[in-house]
């Protein structure tokens, strides 16, 4: 994540040599970088993909910390600082999206800035002034540019420094099941340093290969005429929020409910260490928090995919309840079944409290497959219910939806049974 930030910094400074933050020249200067500057297209694409990587890695880090209960005492403030860093990363994405002044980015930013006007009291006026100035395009672009290249990097660097200091004070978090006997400490030099150098090289190589395979292509320049023919759509990491805002209940003045509900979720997540004060950190002993965490991940994936598939389409309340409720229901049922089975499995005497080596090796892949199956199951179950309830349902579509649901659920149960059998959810014997 830190490396992605430095790649952002270096490529960003290189782009600053040519980029002009004015309404007339923002698009043409970006196009000039891509088409005329030597390696300009590569630098632009690297900047974009490292931003994507930063958002993705920040989210993965957040969820990893959540599941290993890293927020618990004495690391409460580290969690809060980490959450603030996550918000800064999202702000980077929002401000950077506008800078090329394309029709898609400008239209999506207008929607986001327009939403600020619905904030209660003077809050909306202040927020709008901070990000959009007088309201003209020129002041909006200049403010986003200043926030993107000065304010946000400064804030992120300060927060990074604070977090590194806290890391020095508290040290790395121990595994929830405790440190295994025979575990040795790893010296910073050369072992850890070489390991980091290896990871960084692989990361940069992947970024370069992805940039060459899928180079950035700029959408048309923004103008009121072109904007009329385009559907405003944010970048992928805001698609979940975009999808929520398309619910019919949040249309018009109802948007205030979304503007209150979404920040409340963020505030609760930020202050989580002050709610979750129990000392238990093992997954097997925290069914409620684990289930809530999996629901969050599943809902985010489902809403993102759904938002991508239905651009500009207003979502009815019934569809929203079916998909969001269906996803949560699937997770709760699976979680309940998993914890119930866990109680029935007798703890093995030799390997209790830890995963078997074979499962540990495959755990990342199994987790990814499980989450994908979960997303597929949620969407297909919700669409099946929707098809049954609608008058003009297509039998073929309904059958394929049901088959896909059954397929996903079957393999999810297989994965869970495998994990339970391998001892992943057993309680560590004293």
């Amino acid at each position: 994540m830190v490396l992605a930030f430095f790649v952002q910094g270096i490529t960003g400074v290189l782009m600053l040599l040519y980029y002009v933050p004015s309404v007339d020249q923002a698009y043409s200067s970006t196009l000039f970088i891509i088409e005329n500057v030597p390696l300009g297209w590569l630098i632009e694409t690297l900047h974009l993909y490292s931003a994507y990587a930063m958002v993705l890695l920040a989210f993965m880090h957040l969820m990893r910390q959540y599941f290993v209960s890293a927020q618990k005492r004495p690391r409460e403030l580290m969690w809060v600082v980490g959450m603030l860093m996550g918000f800064v990363v999202l702000a980077f994405g929002l401000t950077g999206y506008l800078l090329p002044w394309t029709v898609v980015s400008k239209s999506a930013t207008d929607v986001a800035v327009g939403m600020l006007g619905f904030l209660p009291g003077q809050l909306g006026t202040i927020a709008r002034f901070l990000v959009a100035g007088s309201g003209s395009d020129a002041s909006e672009l200049l403010r986003f540019f200043a926030l993107h290249i000065v304010a946000l990097p400064g804030v992120l660097l300060i927060l990074l420094g604070v977090k590194m200091y806290m890391f020095e004070v508290h040290g790395a978090i121990e595994p929830p099941a405790g440190v295994r006997s025979g575990t040795r400490s790893i010296p910073w030099f050369p072992d850890a340093l070489l390991y980091l150098a290896m990871i960084c090289s692989v990361f940069l190589a992947f970024l370069l290969a992805a940039s060459i395979l899928f180079p950035l292509s700029l959408p048309p320049q923004f103008s009121p005429e072109t904007a009329a023919s385009f559907t405003p759509q944010p970048d992928w990491y805001f698609l979940w929020l975009y999808q929520i805002l398309k619910f019919v209940s949040f249309e018009g003045t109802g948007i205030i409910y979304a503007l209150v509900a979404v920040p409340i979720i963020f505030v609760v997540m930020t202050l989580l260490p002050f709610f979750d004060k129990g000392k238990e950190r093992r997954l097997g002993q925290r069914p409620v928090y684990v289930t809530i965490g999996v629901i969050m991940v599943a809902e985010l994936i489902v809403l993102t995919i759904w938002g991508y598939m239905t651009p500009g389409q207003v979502i009815s309340d019934l569809q929203a309840i079916l998909v969001i409720g269906g996803t949560a229901l699937v997770v709760v049922i699976l979680s309940w079944a998993m914890y119930r089975r866990r109680k029935q499995v007798k703890p093995a005497s030799s390997s209790s409290g830890s995963l078997s080596a074979a499962v540990l090796e495959r755990l990342p892949i199994l987790t990814i497959v499980f989450v994908l199956l979960l997303a597929m199951a949620s969407v297909t179950i919700a669409s099946s219910v929707d098809l049954v309830s609608s008058s003009s349902s297509n039998p073929l579509l309904l059958a394929s939806s049901l088959v896909l649901s059954a397929f996903s659920l079957y393999f999810m149960v297989r994965i869970l049974r495998g994990l339970v059998a391998a001892g992943s959810f057993r309680v560590k014997s004293p």
Binding site: L39, I199, S201, A205, F206, L208, A209, S211
Partner: protein
């Protein structure tokens, strides 16, 4: 191929060092203005080879050396080289 044997590791390391040196010289001599895509792909290959060399050189943190990781590196290296001619 047994990566836990010192002789095999030395041989693989020597091959990677040679590859790194050749590609570094090529990157130095290449005309960036006309071969931008090739430059990027060779740079990705150079970084991958460097990561593989570090993997062989450093002491393993998580258990023994895994042949699968090394083979994955070889495949990605081949992919990067294929990108230079695509």
């Amino acid at each position: 191929m047994k990566l836990n044997e010192a002789g095999t590791r030395s041989l693989a390391s020597a091959a990677l060092v040679t590859f790194l040196a050749v590609v570094a010289v090529y990157l130095w001599l290449i005309d960036i203005l006309t071969m931008q895509k090739q430059f990027g792909a060779f740079l990705a290959a150079e970084l991958t080879a460097f990561a593989m060399l570090l993997y062989l050189y450093r002491r393993p943190i998580h258990g023994e050396f895994k042949k699968q990781w090394f083979l994955a590196g070889c495949l990605f290296l081949a992919f990067c080289l294929a990108l230079t001619i695509l």
